[in-house]
Amino acid sequence: MDTQEQELEDIELFQKHVSDRFTELSSPPEDDALLSVSWLHSLLDVFLCCEAEFEAILIMDRDPSQLSKPPFDRLIPEFIERAVKALDICNAVANGVDSVRHCQKLSEIVISALDQNPLGDGHAKRAKKACLMLLSAMNLDDKEGTHVKATERSWSFGRRGVNKEQIAGHFRSLSWQVAKNWSSAKQIQSMIYNLVAPRGAEASGLPSPIYTMNVIMIFVMWALVAAIPCQERNGLPTHFPVPKQLNWAHSLIGLQEKIADEWKKKEKKGMSGLLDELQKMEKLAQSLIDFTDSFHFPGDAEKVKEAAANVSELKEIFGRMDQGLTPLQMHIREVFHRIVRSRTEFLDVLEKGSAPVL
């Protein structure tokens, strides 16, 4: 079969794989709830697999000058630009995982405080303090990482020798490591900008997988931003302009809509991040605060039992975070490297196909 036919077959296969992979992501096994740490791992794996196939189709055994002609002279540079934006998101999200880890550590205090038998007043007080800090950390104002709820209740001392500014300043325990005016929401927005599905003849040629890969990249970055707290997520777009007729896109769009719904619900309440473990942690912290607030030794047996169950669940979540967060950062780093490499390859291709400038 000739190269053109082979190419069409490859493209079709690629898009089938995409569809399959996203279908799998849509119905995760029980332990890997949508937007949980391990689900995010799966998402990143899907990205890496798709990207590898994509590169193989576009670059391997291809004459570079082919990709310098229209419409590729526009499509490839656009792809490269989106890749750069994705890199910044990777960095921001990796940084955001640190703030999740911060919550993990706070939860450790709660666990160690409440994992006591018998439970004393002191333990409960300690746990309450930690829960408050935890909730405060989770309800971070995305802007510049400042705490919205002052946790003044959780510590207090006089003003001698310390001025208020110092106090306020030292609460900003997690300032984002990204540029001041950088906004993850705007970044995603600008990635979506100008995303147009190929039409007519282009739809059955190479522009098609390019479009597919663009959509995948945007989706993955978007999901990461939705899950993990990072700077300025206000105004995160919830709609992707991907035509429903596209076969390969069905699962992806379904997934996107599901997540977007969750996002819209949470957005109104002021939010930490859709990360499944964080969501669960928030609920548990809330009920534990209620518990510790009303606790007096020896406490109501039923409530104590309930609290113990909550602590046990919290332990489990802690465990998952403890196991999964550092690998998640490493995984994001892997994605980062891959995108860099891919961009370099495409830059090379562009360079080879065009006149040199000295």
């Binding site: 750069v84 934006k85 890199l87 910044d88 960095n91 990796a94 940084n95 640190d98 550590k105 706070l106 450790e108 205090i109 160690s112 018998p118 004393g120 007043d121 002191g122 333990h123 007080k125 300690r126 303090k129 930690a130 800090m133 510590w155 207090s156 001392f157 006089g158 001698r160 020798g161 310390v162 110092q166 106090i167 300043g169 030292h170 609460f171 900003r172 325990s173 997690l174 300032s175 490591q177 990204v178 540029a179 001041k180 950088w182 030794f297 020896p298 950062q329 490493m330 780093r333 490297h337 860099v340 961009r343 370099t344 830059l347 360079e351 006149a355 040199p356 400038v357 000295l358």
Partner: protein, 612 residues
């Protein structure tokens, strides 16, 4: 067994703790324990210890059912109150003694121990800036700066970490004492939390003072390279301060405070404090390492590479725990990307030289901007020899055998045994440059000018090679010999192209009418000869005064060479045949010039006079 009830030591301790409970008493809120009165602090700590002891012994004898659960709860409560208080005290001590480092002095000291005196090695394009049609808006003729330290060995000076005392010893003692109690009571995590949050904001503010920007990768890609060069320079200095002083000092502080409790804890505190800023620091270098490759970036990238390389042992020393793996790894990754970038740029440069497409011939046959640019560039490369020799590991890929491809030159690798890959690249670049120039020379309509052009440019290459000992040593004598031969050849070809036909006018044959000897000279032919000679010479004079040989010595030599052939021939011709002309009408129409006139006229050649 001592129960809380019948232990007065416990009771008084409990009283002390409760007195300082800031949630309960006004007094507790107003003052700090650790502040003014040493005694207060000691008393408090003793009280805490007492409670701890009680708790400990109570828990041991838990199985003896003598212990009242109520009592135990009370003790726990007291401990919690004490810990909450200690946490506040801990935080307070940290905050009070957190002062930003004197950043300016740090900068000075850091540059001094890297012993770099800023020298400014500026290679400019002197002489005429003749633009060609490749007309990119960017200036083709780069000013290649080699700032800050042209001596690449400064980047190899041995590193020195300089820890600074971030806090007075007394404060550290207090912090240690508090930490010990908190950890003994199981409040380790609270301790780390507090420590991390206060110290981290201190590091953040030091970062701001050092002027370390938070730039995204997107930002870096958009900035002009010139602006980035400044930022790179700044980053190098700031990074040295960060790693060697700032981070190292934070590490030391952690070790001092948590000394007695184990290395895992002080590692955890250190990473809590420093991880974010460290990543932020390296992100900039990473952004540079992945920027689009273009030739002018090579040298700053090498500077960054060298600086990071030099810093690497310090990075490994400061970030030596398992939890800081990712930072070490990132630094190594960046280093390797920078090396890759350098290689890629060099390769791109070679390709660009080969395919540089400008066709408009340089007026006057003088030095082509490409020649200047390339030779400046490779002179600078040879300055960076020390770094590049390690980075460039493969010989150039094109031209390694006779490829038969007419669009690339061939290169003899046999006689280049024993040369480093870097040297091979330099030689290859020169080969490629000549090849390109050859192609350009063919665009001159006048073949003489084409030869002159080649002569000028190859001569320039020779001068540049001779002018750089490093370059000369790497390219080798053989290369130099070949180049010299080439430009001499071009000079010869030029002369042949121009002067053979001119001198042809002064030949003997065809002048003599068959038969007699002395008076058998055809006056008509002779007059024609003179006329033709004059016309040709005038034309050559007119044209070639507009041509240019920039090198004074070469210009002289060529003129002398021309004169040596022209003048004797003319004198001899004049001598033998002037009488025939002078005996006829209007001799001045034919004998326009004396030999001296010609001699003077030759002085105009190659002066690059503007068209009149």
């Amino acid at each position: 067994m001592e129960t809380p009830e019948n232990n007065s030591g416990y009771e008084s301790a409990e009283k002390i703790i409760l007195r300082w409970d800031s949630t309960a008493s006004e007094e507790g809120r107003e003052r700090m324990i650790f502040g003014t009165d040493r005694q207060e602090a000691d008393v408090y700590l003793q009280a805490v210890d007492e409670i701890q002891r009680t708790l400990f012994s109570a828990s041991i004898s838990d199985c003896s059912h003598n212990v009242d659960a109520d009592d135990q709860s009370k003790v726990n409560t007291t401990i919690q109150i004490a810990m909450a208080r200690l946490e506040d005290e801990f935080r307070n001590i940290l905050i009070i003694h957190t002062s930003a480092l004197e950043i300016d002095s740090l900068f000075d000291s850091s540059t001094s121990f890297s012993s770099s005196t800023p020298t400014h090695h500026e290679l400019e394009d002197d002489e005429d800036c003749i633009s060609d049609d490749s007309g990119s808006s960017r200036n083709n003729l780069l000013q290649l700066h080699h700032c800050e330290s042209s001596d690449s060995s400064t980047y190899r000076t041995s590193s020195s970490i300089r820890e600074v005392d971030l806090m007075p010893a007394e404060a550290i003692c207090d912090l240690q004492a508090i930490a010990m109690r908190m950890i003994a009571a199981g409040y380790l995590r609270e301790c780390i939390q507090v420590y991390g949050s206060v110290r981290k904001s201190s590091v953040d503010s030091s970062f701001r003072k050092l002027g370390i920007e938070k730039l995204s990768i997107g930002d870096v890609q958009k900035l002009q390279w010139e602006a980035l060069e400044g930022k790179i320079r700044h980053w190098i200095r700031a990074a040295r301060v960060c790693v060697r002083i700032l981070f190292a000092s934070e590490k030391k502080l952690c070790e001092q405070i948590f000394d007695c409790v184990g290395t895992d804890i002080d590692d955890a505190c250190f990473m809590e404090t420093v991880k974010g800023p460290a990543i932020q620091l390296f992100n900039f270098a990473e952004a540079i390492s992945i920027s689009r490759r273009s030739p002018e970036k090579l040298f700053k990238i090498l500077d960054l590479h060298d600086a990071l390389m030099e810093l690497l042992p310090d990075i490994e020393a400061v970030f030596d725990s398992k939890s800081s793996d990712s930072i070490r790894v990132q630094a190594a990754e960046i280093l390797s990307r920078l090396a890759e970038a350098a290689r890629g740029i060099l390769s791109e440069f070679e390709n660009a030289v080969l395919r540089e497409p400008s066709r408009v011939p340089v007026p006057g046959g003088t030095i082509h901007p490409l020649t200047r640019y390339v030779m400046n560039y490779i002179s600078l490369i040879s300055d960076y020899k020390q770094t590049l020799i390690d980075l460039i590991m493969l010989k150039p890929s094109t031209g390694s055998r006779y490829s038969g491809d007419p669009s690339t030159p061939d290169m003899e690798f046999t006689e280049l045994e024993g040369k480093t890959p870097l040297a091979l690249h330099l030689i290859w670049i020169i080969v490629v440059l000549q090849f390109n120039l050859d192609g350009k020379s063919k665009h001159y309509r006048d073949v003489s000018l084409a030869h002159l052009f080649m002569m000028n440019n190859v001569h320039y290459i020779v001068q540049k090679v001779k002018g750089s000992p490093e370059l000369r040593e790497m390219t080798g004598d053989n290369c130099l010999r070949k180049l010299t031969g080439k430009f001499r050849q071009a000079a010869t070809s030029y002369q042949r192209a121009t002067w053979v036909s001119v001198l042809y006018c002064l030949r003997d044959e065809g002048l003599h009418v068959s038969g007699s000897f002395s008076s058998g000279v055809s006056k008509t032919v002779l007059r024609e000869r003179f006329k033709t000679f004059n016309a040709m010479f005038e034309e050559v004079h007119r044209t070639q005064s507009m041509w240019l040989i920039p090198d004074g010595q070469l210009r002289e030599e060529l003129r002398i060479s021309i004169s040596e052939k022209l003048l004797p021939a003319y004198r001899s011709f004049l001598g033998r045949f002037r009488s025939h002309i002078e005996s006829g009408k209007h001799p001045e129409n034919y004998i326009k010039y004396s030999a001296e006139d010609l001699e003077t006229a030759v002085l105009d050649f190659f002066e690059g006079y503007p068209a009149s």
